[in-house]
């Protein structure tokens, strides 16, 4: 089983990102689970969401304390919370930042992607969740690009979906090129 923890701020779609990941994993033929940390969702407040991917039905329903991956949607969170808490040393961190390198309190690999720029270019708004999922797919291979796109098309109305599919693709390609 792989466990993924998303960190974002209210309004950036961290909860939707976790949902999309679980949907994509399901479309890949796996079992999956996604749930928010159940905050009172206020715009700008730190939000945590969780996803699990497995070959068997996932019974565990506690929050994720030792993730295989963390996805950080907002670089300003790095100064506020220990996003890498519990991250497995064999795991990976994916951070949305314009910087090419980020120091995190972890032995795990740290990767960056400028998802805000991608979101602004493609969507015209700084909502980075779909770009982050695209980059996550390229970085980890835990879900296929096709299934992420399918999940995005399922989740959003048509016009919005197509723009978000583009965000997924651009982020996927950028991440792939960096690896």
């Amino acid at each position: 089983m792989k466990e993924i923890r998303f960190h974002g701020r209210g309004g950036q779609g961290a909860v939707t990102a976790a949902d999309l990941l679980a949907m994509a994993a399901f479309f890949d033929g796996k079992y999956s689970q996604a749930f928010p940390s159940f905050g009172t969702e206020r715009r700008g407040a730190p939000v945590t969401a969780f996803a699990r991917i497995s070959d068997r039905f996932i019974r565990l329903r506690s929050q994720i304390y030792e993730p295989d991956y963390i996805v950080v949607q907002d670089p300003s969170l790095l100064e506020v919370i220990d996003v890498a808490a519990g991250l497995k040393s064999t795991g990976k961190a994916l951070i949305n930042t314009e910087k090419s390198e980020i120091k995190l309190n972890t032995e795990a690999e740290v990767h960056t992607i400028n998802a805000t720029r991608i979101a602004l270019d493609v969507l015209g708004v700084p909502i980075v969740n779909t770009a982050m999922i695209g980059a996550f797919a390229a970085l980890t291979g835990e879900v296929s690009l096709e299934s992420v796109i399918k999940a995005v098309r399922r989740r959003f109305p048509e016009k919005l979906a197509e723009r978000n599919v583009r965000a997924v693709e651009v982020a996927y390609e950028e991440m792939e090129a960096k690896l």
């Binding site: 079992y31 999956s32 689970q33 996604a34 159940f38 009172t40 329903r61 506690s62 929050q63």
Partner: protein, 389 residues
């Protein structure tokens, strides 16, 4: 054809309502139930099924509207949580006293104060004596399936009682996971049209819910109690038939790893999944008994399941203040009265406090220490911050 899909628990419930050909829905939105009634409204707006959707100004009115609609013989549905359920309290008794087969989903949430939107089961446990059948589910799939089963139980001529399907708020309502949506024709065959024998009919006028003076009131209550006894058998049959038709079932209680288990954890709802995972992770020989049905209480089945148990630890998301333990623990003591089984309790997850595998491990350890004859706390609060008291 049934189809596998991936969706929120709330959506799974809405799918069940659609499959059951519900005719009247009356609801007032409240976190974490909101998505259930929003999804149903969306389905109706899209023409996916046809029903009367009554917007009301409170949960008290929602249940009252369901009572009126159900009395005409229409299949009705509502959903609520926490304060909403508490506001319904008075009318819950009227629904059951008038023997109306209303089905309601309660998205279990803590009660105020302090204001808390997160999950525990204090809200529905507090309504245990209101004459409603209560089911508690572990997964989103079971939530969907239990709504379908609930109508079959509620509408059975030997029962005619309202049924509350309790699903942990957020933990299930807001979780995305795989769910199989049954075939509509199969559901129609499983769930025949509602025939309410005492439905309102202008040709044969009757008065319902009128004065029951001391000459009659006790008989009404006794009839409800008899109907509850029937509900136990009917629920078992409804689940067996469900398994035959849809290929999966749950029983009125679930036994996990119970073979020769001397230590047994007992619980209700979604935390059973975390407990199963912990038992397997530890390679433990501890068993789990998950009660799916809390009202009527499956006394005989529980005694049978625990016949080899020596120590029981009840993990529950409620506490009866002033009695120092959860209601399920108290009821187990009552059901097991006269036996030598040691009964411990663990109050956990109040107000959405995360229940971790470590909490479960501690509950197992305490029970195992009791088994070895060591002195242990009778009731422990999992994850409590002693320093904050």
């Amino acid at each position: 054809m049934p189809h596998r899909d991936v969706m929120h628990g709330s959506r799974a419930v809405a799918e069940a309502v659609k499959l059951c050909d519900v005719k009247v829905i009356a609801a007032y939105p409240i976190t974490p139930q909101t998505h259930i009634v929003e999804d149903i409204a969306e389905m109706l707006a899209n023409g996916e099924f046809d029903a009367e959707y009554i917007m009301v100004e409170s949960e008290h009115s929602a249940m009252s509207a369901c009572i009126g609609a159900s009395a005409t013989g229409a299949r009705t549905f509502t959903a609520t949580a926490s304060q909403g359920l508490a506001l319904m309290h008075e009318v819950l008794w009227i629904a059951s006293g008038m023997r109306l087969p209303i089905v309601m989903v309660n998205a279990n949430r803590a009660l105020s104060a302090p204001i808390n939107i997160w999950n525990d089961q204090s809200d529905s446990i507090a309504e245990r004596d209101s004459g409603w059948v209560q089911l508690y589910v572990e997964t989103c799939q079971e939530a969907l399936d239990s709504v379908i089963q609930a109508y079959r139980i509620a509408e059975h001529q030997d029962v005619l009682l309202p049924v509350m399907v309790c699903m942990d708020g957020f933990v299930l309502t807001h979780t995305v996971e795989p769910v199989e949506v049954p075939d509509k024709e199969q559901v129609r065959r499983y769930l025949p049209e509602l025939r309410l024998p005492h439905a309102l009919d202008p040709e044969h006028p009757v008065t319902m819910g009128s004065l029951g003076d001391p000459n009659y009131y006790m008989e009404c209550r006794k009839q409800q109690e008899i109907a509850m006894e029937h509900a136990l058998r009917v629920a078992e049959e409804a689940d067996e038939e469900f398994r035959r038709v849809f290929g999966r079932g749950y029983g009125i209680l679930e036994e996990y790893n119970m073979q020769d288990a001397e230590v047994v954890l007992v619980t209700m709802g979604s935390v059973a999944g975390t407990i199963k995972e912990t038992i397997d992770m530890l390679g433990s020989d501890v068993g789990l008994l998950r009660l799916r049905m809390f009202r009527p209480f499956p006394k005989e089945a529980v005694r049978r399941a625990l016949r080899n148990a020596k120590v029981v630890n009840v993990i529950e998301k409620d506490v009866s203040m002033g009695f120092g333990e959860g209601a399920l623990m108290t009821e187990l003591k009552s059901v097991l009265y006269g036996s030598d089984i040691r009964i411990l309790g663990t109050v956990a997850g109040l107000g959405g406090r995360d229940i971790t595998t470590e909490h479960v491990r501690q509950a197992i350890e305490r029970a195992e220490r009791a088994l070895r004859g060591e002195r242990v706390e009778e009731v422990a609060w999992a994850g409590l911050k002693e320093e904050a008291l």
